[in-house]
């Protein structure tokens, strides 16, 4: 799709065009009662030309949000979270980043015992997998319940990416279940993410 730049600012409720002329993209909506396309956001109006071989030749009009919105987790997105609580059957974590972008407000996530790893899922000891303060990489399973997103670390490249030892130093991963403190040489157990593919 080719872009045509138009730097006109619109506000919610302004008419962008007739339904017969334009299609409603992001930040716009079609009012069924009078077949007009209105804006639903404040921002710059952009018209995107349709690809030449698509059956619908109307340009799509969308509004670019002037405020860069923080990312929102969706099922399937890789997130980075900080563990807040570890309990017998699950761990709570605050989602801080979705992909490479940080989020505006913190989202709550839960990693249940059966989602920690792919094998021997009923023998998982939560306290040997995570500790509060650990930074983990996880995938969003679903929108979960009212309180938190359901996360999973059941893949090789998911799990703890950064953790502090009890001595306060950043630990070095040794295997997929162990990390070592560089100061005291003490080994601690975590579900470690495999970095470097």
């Amino acid at each position: 799709m080719k872009e045509e730049g138009e730097r006109e600012v619109v506000t919610p409720g302004e008419v962008l065009g007739k339904a017969s002329d334009v299609r409603a993209g992001r930040g716009a909506y079609l009012a069924p009662h009078n077949n007009l396309v209105y804006a639903s956001l404040t921002g710059f109006r952009r018209a995107l030309s349709p690809s030449p071989d698509s059956p619908d030749q109307r340009p799509t009009v969308e509004i670019t949000d002037h405020k860069a919105h923080g990312a929102v987790p969706e099922p399937g997105s890789i997130v980075i979270a900080r563990v807040t609580k570890v309990m017998a059957k699950m761990a709570s974590a605050d989602i801080m980043c979705v992909g490479p972008k940080s989020v505006r407000e913190k989202f709550s996530g839960i990693i249940r015992q059966q989602d920690v790893r792919a094998t021997e899922i009923d023998k998982v000891d939560m306290h040997l997998s995570f500790r509060p303060g650990d930074i983990v990489k996880a995938i969003v399973l679903s929108l979960g319940d009212a309180r938190a997103y359901y996360l999973s670390t059941a893949k090789n490249e998911l799990g703890v990416v950064s953790a502090e030892s009890t001595a306060g130093a950043t630990m070095v991963p040794i295997s997929w279940t162990e990390m070592q403190c560089p100061l005291t040489a003490q080994i601690e157990h975590r579900k470690v993410a495999k970095i470097g593919g």
């Binding site: 980075i80 900080r82 801080m96 980043c97 490479p100 972008k101 940080s102 407000e105 930074i135 990416v161 950064s162 950043t170 970095i195 470097g196």
Partner: protein, 301 residues
Amino acid sequence: MGLPDASGDLSSEMEVDAFRRLFPLRFYERHLAESIRPDGRPLGRARDTTIALGAVTSADGSALAKIGSTTMLAAVKMEVMTPSMESPDEGCIAIDFHMPPICSPIVRPGRPAEAAPVVSKQLSDTISSSGMINLKELSLVSGKAAWMAYLDIYCLDADGALFDAALLSAVAALFHLQIPAVSLNDDGKIVVSEEDGGKLEKEPVNKEKRKLTLRSIPFSLTCILHKNYILADPTSEEEAIMETLVTVVLDSSSQLISLYKPGGAVLAYTSAVQDCIALTRQRVRELQKILDEANSGMEVD
């Protein structure tokens, strides 16, 4: 943006914003090593400060103070009351500090901010121990009537250094305060005088609007101690990461009114305390100038 450090591969995958949220201490220490802070300020400098007097027209005295993004609105309302038996010649001031949900995402209607009652008490203590206000000036009729001044401070935007901004707005509001003209009517009650001089049967107790004489106005500066660094006027992000705070309150002649250090991981050696006091002294001069400018700006109207 590859940051070569222990967090290794992780940092090259994410944006600066994300790194700042996940490893805030590392992010800050990188900047502190260059003697600068992420917002570009040198360590000892406070944020841009402004004062606007008379922000609330329905109050007897008011001021809006902004330090960086931290915004405080203070207003004084006067009411007549009966003075207590122990001090029949004195009025009273009641100071209250509020943090409404609008000021910060962590405050919600059912979950009030922990900082609010702490700052409220700090403000009351500071203003009374500074001797700024002579309570006898608030007396009307000895033993029968005196002024109760309600000073309410609302935080409209909480971005660190709450006490400094609150104290500044409180002081500015008291500076702006004009005590209403009142007279005693036949029933022995105090009523507000008419603007046009009033009837003569009422005995004017307070002939015309007057301002309070303020002695030794207190000004403050909050600093954060982290390892060997002293950061003046912290933002809320800085306060959350580096938790040791020191607040110094001095009056306009650089006399020490109070020093407040509520625990914290970093110990304050004499040299650190002296550095904080020196920074505060400089800050007092800045604030005095800003307050005077705001005041003279008002008189032009």
